[in-house]
Symmetry: C2
Subunit: 189 residues, 2 copies
Amino acid sequence: MAKKGLDSKIIISTAAQLVEEKGYDHFSLNELALKLGVKTASLYNHIEGIQEVNSKVSHLAVSRLHLILEESIARKERDEALMSLTMAYRDFAKKNPELYKAVIKLPSSEDDQLKESGAQVVEPIIAILRKYALNEVDMIHFSRALRSAIHGFVEMEEAGFFRRHDANIDISYEKMIKGYILILNSYNN
Amino acid sequence: MAKKGLDSKIIISTAAQLVEEKGYDHFSLNELALKLGVKTASLYNHIEGIQEVNSKVSHLAVSRLHLILEESIARKERDEALMSLTMAYRDFAKKNPELYKAVIKLPSSEDDQLKESGAQVVEPIIAILRKYALNEVDMIHFSRALRSAIHGFVEMEEAGFFRRHDANIDISYEKMIKGYILILNSYNN
DNA sequence: TTACTAAAACTAATGCTATTAGTTTTAGTC
DNA sequence: GACTAAAACTAATAGCATTAGTTTTAGTAA
């Protein structure tokens, strides 16, 4: 019963690990406590409840995605940067499918947090778009469409919606991105 | 304790109603039984378990969406049909946000069922695309991109990701769809 | 070195959840 | 009117999140 040196950070990163191992929908505080070598009730010395854990796991997921997106566009710009970012995004979702599910679940309650976290994914996209000749409003319209396409694609792919045909799925994705790049370049320059 | 005349159909449609009322994540067999005026255990005379209910609710959701998509393209074709279908899709998701969540959850276990249900949404889209000059493979690539964009958009909108700016969200959607129509028409004709 | 305190662990209990086993009632048929 | 199978029931189990109350620990002050 010695103090285990638990803190919120260890709890959340272990939770994220558990989410990836057992699946987002099968995460439980019991298993989390077990993995931490602690009784379930003891977790409540460090957390408010399970929804706080879920929320923080979502923020962790977004942070990791953000990091990867930033890395993907380092020393790149325009078409090359956009292709690199979108590939890195899908790669992240494929390597961390269960954790990625947490990204879309950022609880809509805590609105300010949501804004900040949402911004983490938009930010590198906007950074790329600034190198094209779009006005501010069109940039937002375009970024929404692009994020929709990327997120929609990786989620539907993971859910198994794109299994049916013999059309190669990597090519589908690449063609989709190239379509966006085409539209982007048509704005002028 | 008279027989209540329960059957799978009534159970599933009531479940769908409950999902919409209480939210997809707060659905329970207890509340379902309560709403049907029956004890929870009695449900098991008609269903295997909760995952069967979830699965069938998903199929119901897809069927309803399919119906609406078919209606939306009746007596229309090409650009007009595509615009109508995509607007109807988003409309459905906005009017039935909780039920729409069931659409993406078609359990990946039952593969054959999944193929069939997935097909229900692709089918009317493919029907429209046949009027354009795409070959079979490009049609599949394009339909994947389009479905990704539509689904991604409505899900991210519902999750609250598009709240930040003053760019009008309806216009974002319309511009996105018009982008796809532009690409589609560029294939030739 | 001892006493005190607050944090962090614990045990135990509550009320949800889905599910199963066994029992009683009902509706329809022979 | 008796029989049968379906469909309701009651009761119990196991797992879940959460809360209250208790004990232990680590660190500080006397």
